[in-house]
Amino acid sequence: MVMPEQSTPKPLWRDPLFSPGDRFPLGPPHWHWEGCEDEPSGPATRPFSLRGVVAGPRMDAELGWPYRYCEDRQVAFVHGDDGLAVPLLKHTKPGPTPVTSGTTDGQPGKPPPEEMASPDYQSD
């Protein structure tokens, strides 16, 4: 196949600082963080910026999502006590809401997910 020639090629921007992974960041699949059992190293080598970190939930186990993704509507649902499927987004209004292990957006007292979704995961 012959490609038409571009009279004025668009410049390509390349930054040697970043790998393809950095430029197309992806998180861990299903919140699984494997191989993260390392303990803090000690005061001589631990970065100052990690002093005072606050511990959260374990991240290496299957989270107890009560929600299931619906491929047809492309949103998540949970089955209520009456057996009816309730969209997840109905549970994200202010006030008492069902507690999940990780989806915390909109739940007062819980952080929004941006803090848990830092896309620094690199698969081996």
Binding site: P20, G56, R58, D60, Q74, K93, P108
Partner: protein, 344 residues
């Protein structure tokens, strides 16, 4: 904004499709499956009869397939799941949030997995990023918007930013503290969280007075960010920018911890809507243009004298909890942007 500033960052090329050419509008959403912010937008677009193709990239290659062919006018082909498919040429806009890493078939060796993962990332990213579509936001914007770079761009855009120091020397910290003449804020340059001992660990902003600055062991182990601590902060603001629209929420802290970093104690927070002063609004929009962002979540401190001091902009920030608390129509604005496919 001078021409020098305009050349600081690359701008994504203008669309090559003629405005009068008919194109099917399909919104591609790349994120995890359990994400209420995305659910809202999906439902909003569905109510408008806008076709949506939502997928997590963890589905590739096992249940998500890509079949793309380079044609004289660009990549074409299909992206498909067992339930639906979309022609690449029909994708008008892409909402890129936090998709998961590809889930590869079991049984691969570690070298095979590394190879397959790299091939998947370059292949899928290479094709999708070539599409003539609006990206909200383009995936590399997070890498572009490094915090030190953000602070400098914000300054160029007329926004006030805190005095800041990036260093790996204790003497540098002490000199900076002496120059500031007050407490410092210790912040992270990159992600605020890590997984250690199997647990999520979150590093919130710390207020560093003389006692904390007396022992700076560990500063030399990597780069650290220190800023002047805004002691006369009245409240903080999360300003969510969608295209040219700004939705700002004042965040009033009700505890000592939340006054240092509101993320550390959400239960103590109260919210109210607020209009950014015109120069701040102008500065935010200039910042968005500089980084070629269509969506951004800015964090400010507002002092008791009414000065707005910008900390950072998260190109993938959360907004759902503020939309709920204050009835901010952010979902609708995002749906408008994605449906139009128009670059701000």
């Amino acid at each position: 904004m001078g021409s020098r500033a305009n050349h600081l960052l690359r701008r994504w090329p203008a669309p090559t499709t003629s405005p009068t050419e008919h194109r099917q509008v399909t919104v591609l959403i790349l994120d995890r499956e359990i994400e209420p912010q995305v659910d809202r937008v999906v439902e909003e677009l569905a109510a408008r009869d806008v076709p949506v193709f939502r997928t997590d990239l963890a589905a590739f290659p096992q249940t998500l397939t890509l079949d793309a062919r380079l044609e004289p006018d660009g990549w074409n082909g299909t992206l498909a799941t067992p339930r639906r498919s979309v022609r690449l040429r029909e994708i008008r806009s892409v909402w890129y949030r936090h998709p998961s890493h590809f889930e590869l078939p079991e049984g691969m060796s570690r070298p095979e997995r590394r190879h397959a993962a790299a091939e998947a990332r370059v292949g899928v990213a290479g094709v999708l990023c070539s599409l003539d579509a609006l990206w909200v936001n383009y995936p590399s914007r997070e890498a572009d918007a490094l915090k030190p770079r953000q602070l400098d761009v914000a300054r160029r855009c007329g926004l006030r930013v805190p005095g800041s120091l990036v260093t790996n020397t204790a003497v540098g910290v002490r000199d900076f503290a002496a120059a500031v003449g007050g407490p410092l804020a210790g912040k992270n340059l990159s992600a605020a969280s890590l997984v250690e001992s199997g647990h999520l660990q979150t590093a919130y902003t710390r207020r560093l007075g003389p006692a904390e600055l007396a022992d700076l062991a560990g500063v030399e182990t990597t780069a650290h960010l220190f800023q002047e601590f805004i002691d006369d902060k009245a409240f903080e603001v999360r300003a969510t920018v969608v295209g040219e629209q700004v939705f700002a929420a004042a965040i009033h802290a009700g505890s000592h911890a939340a006054r240092i970093d509101f993320r550390s104690d959400y239960s103590s927070l109260d919210y109210s809507t607020i209009d950014p002063p015109p120069p701040v609004r102008t500065g935010m929009l200039a910042f968005m243009r500089m980084f070629d962002l269509s969506f951004g979540a800015f964090d400010f401190a507002v002092t008791t004298t009414g000065e707005w001091i910008m900390f950072e902009c998260n190109p993938f920030g959360a907004y759902g909890w503020l939309e709920d608390a204050l009835d901010l129509p952010i979902t609708s604005a995002l749906a408008d942007l994605l449906e139009s496919g128009a670059r701000p």
